[in-house]
């Protein structure tokens, strides 16, 4: 089964200066471990939210909304595409991903299984 893991850091409580050197190192190591375990199929971080564009459909009309957007709770900062044998294994990898972040971080990961029927 494949899971899309959406990474949502709390934008109102970002640590100053962003990820430190230790986090970058640990992240590199975890990504390598997940790749070598055959779990990580794809991953990327996203450009800052204020560069985003939104294209919306309502009442048959399309509108293009440019940033900056004020709401910040649901902002996706990056994603991983995981392949695991079970939901619990996906949760365990997600937990490992969170644990390498220090206590200065608040974030939420959302795991969504791909519908591959």
């Amino acid at each position: 089964m494949r899971y899309l893991m959406l990474i949502r850091p709390d934008m109102d409580n970002l640590p100053e200066g962003g990820p430190d050197e230790k986090l970058n190192e640990d992240m590199g190591r975890l990504i390598e471990e997940m790749t070598k375990a055959g779990v990580l199929l794809d991953t990327a971080g996203l450009r800052p939210f204020d560069e985003a564009a939104r294209v919306r459909l309502a009442n048959g009309e399309t509108t293009v909304l440019d940033g900056p957007f004020t709401e910040s709770k649901e902002v996706v900062g990056g994603y991983c595409l995981l392949q695991t044998r079970s939901r619990d294994e996906a949760i365990e990898w997600a937990t490992r991903f969170l644990r390498i972040h220090g206590p200065e971080w608040t974030m939420e990961l959302e795991l969504r299984e791909l519908d591959e029927a």
Binding site: D88, I91, E92, E116
Partner: protein
């Protein structure tokens, strides 16, 4: 709220971490205690310790390292009680002290390189020539893939006790033959690596084109083969043919969803809905193929048999429609494959490509040469291909005979019904 849901969540966390770490634990412990079954027992002790301690003391920050250090401690206890293992003690104590010296919770505290080396030793043990191919497959799925015996039995539509017996017999054979726990070197490596790659490809093919039973594929086996080959890429990042096989398997797996219709009938490559091909797997296949070529080039060697087959699969993947297929290129790649790794199966596939480039008569000449050689007479696809070419040449009577022969020879019900329906056309 009671504690029970929390306990259950922790138990599930233990089990998930345990499933992820199990092959690594057994691989490391086997080196330390010299026996796979003893290693499995000790790993099981670590699992029980986690089930007991994590709900009480909280989930450790590095679950993998916790399990590894705990397992090694249990190994020391076991060795102290067991006189025949006692000579191992100095080795184990040295290693354990090194682990305990590093900061707890530091992901580096379990040395990655050490685990990788032990996984490689295990891989070459489970694929050792002292074992039958069937035993190699079962043991590799169990000890490298970390599948349970029940899962292996289900995937192969076999009774669990049969798999249990097969695996314990294989472990006994390894012990009795005194198979050294090591990665082969020099000229032996290439030969032994071939066996490893064959085992993984066999798992994939078993899932891709089921030879017995009524399903077209057992998706689980394909998924396991994909996982195994991705693990192999991590273990042997400099071996071109590992990436050649990875490319082949990723590219073939990209078509899994479109190989059968809603009623479970086979859909041939030329009739498949290409919008259903998995673009991510295709992209991963291209990347692996690029890596295979680069590594082969670095070594001054030509692409191996898997890289060549992957290159053919890549030509199909690049064609937006069946008519866009670059058959000339495919025929050329089959010619190289046939020259370097001659086999009647390759010749048969080359005939299909040649028929697309130069017409069915040219293809039929090649097929008839394979027929004359005689070795594929019992192979249903020989008759299926010959039937197809004859039908295209308007020789319906001859074609019908070939389709009926193919239907008779195949063990797959879906394939049989396709052949019978073509015989009626």
């Amino acid at each position: 709220m009671s504690d029970q849901p929390i306990d259950r969540a922790v138990t599930r966390a233990v089990d998930a971490a345990w499933r992820i770490e199990w092959p690594q634990l057994v691989a490391v412990l086997t080196r330390l205690v010299g026996d796979i079954t003893t290693a499995e027992d000790i790993a099981q002790d670590a699992h029980l310790a986690a089930l007991e301690q994590w709900p009480r003391d909280g989930v450790p920050s590095n679950t993998g390292a916790w399990l590894m250090v705990t397992a090694k401690r249990r190994a020391v206890d076991r060795i102290r009680r067991d006189a025949t293992l006692a000579r191992k003690l100095p080795l184990l104590e040295g290693e354990l002290l090194a682990d305990l010296d590093s900061a707890p919770g530091d992901p580096a505290s379990v040395v990655d390189g050490e685990i990788r080396d032990d996984m490689l030793r295990m891989l070459f043990t489970t694929c050792h020539p002292v074992l039958s191919r069937q035993s190699q497959v079962a043991l590799t799925l169990r000890l490298i893939g970390g599948l349970t015996t029940e899962e292996i039995a289900r995937a192969y539509v076999t009774a669990t006790p049969t798999i249990v017996r097969r695996i314990s017999r294989a472990k006994r054979t390894i012990r009795d033959a005194g198979v050294p726990y090591e990665v082969p070197s020099g000229g032996e490596l290439a030969e032994r690596l071939d066996a490893v790659l064959e085992v993984v490809y066999l798992v994939f093919n078993e899932g891709y084109a089921v030879t017995a039973g009524d399903g077209w594929m057992r998706a689980e086996l394909c998924a396991e083969a994909l996982r195994l080959v991705r693990i192999l890429c991590g273990l042997m990042p400099a071996e071109p043919e590992v990436f050649g096989l990875a490319a082949l398997v990723e590219l073939q797996a990209s078509r899994l969803r479109s190989r059968h219709d809603a009623d479970g009938r086979l859909v041939l490559l030329r009739d498949q809905d290409r919008t259903r091909w998995d673009r991510l797997l295709i992209r991963r296949g291209y990347a692996a193929l690029g890596r295979a070529h680069a590594l082969a080039h670095e070594r001054g060697g030509a692409p191996g048999r898997y890289a060549l087959q992957a290159a053919i699969a890549a030509v199909h993947a690049m064609a937006a429609t069946s008519d866009d297929t670059d058959w000339r290129r495919i025929a050329g790649l089959y010619a190289i494959l046939a020259a370097r790794f001659p086999s009647p199966i390759v010749e048969l596939n080359r005939a299909v490509a040649v028929a697309e480039v130069h017409g069915p008569a040219a293809g039929l000449d090649l097929v008839d040469a394979v027929v004359d050689a005689g070795s594929l007479d019992e192979y249903h696809l020989l008759h299926a291909v010959r039937g197809d070419l004859l039908a295209r040449l308007g020789q319906q009577g001859e074609a019908r005979k070939e389709f009926l022969r193919a239907a008779e020879l195949t063990a797959n019900a879906a394939e049989r019904s396709l052949m019978l329906s073509r015989a009626r056309d």
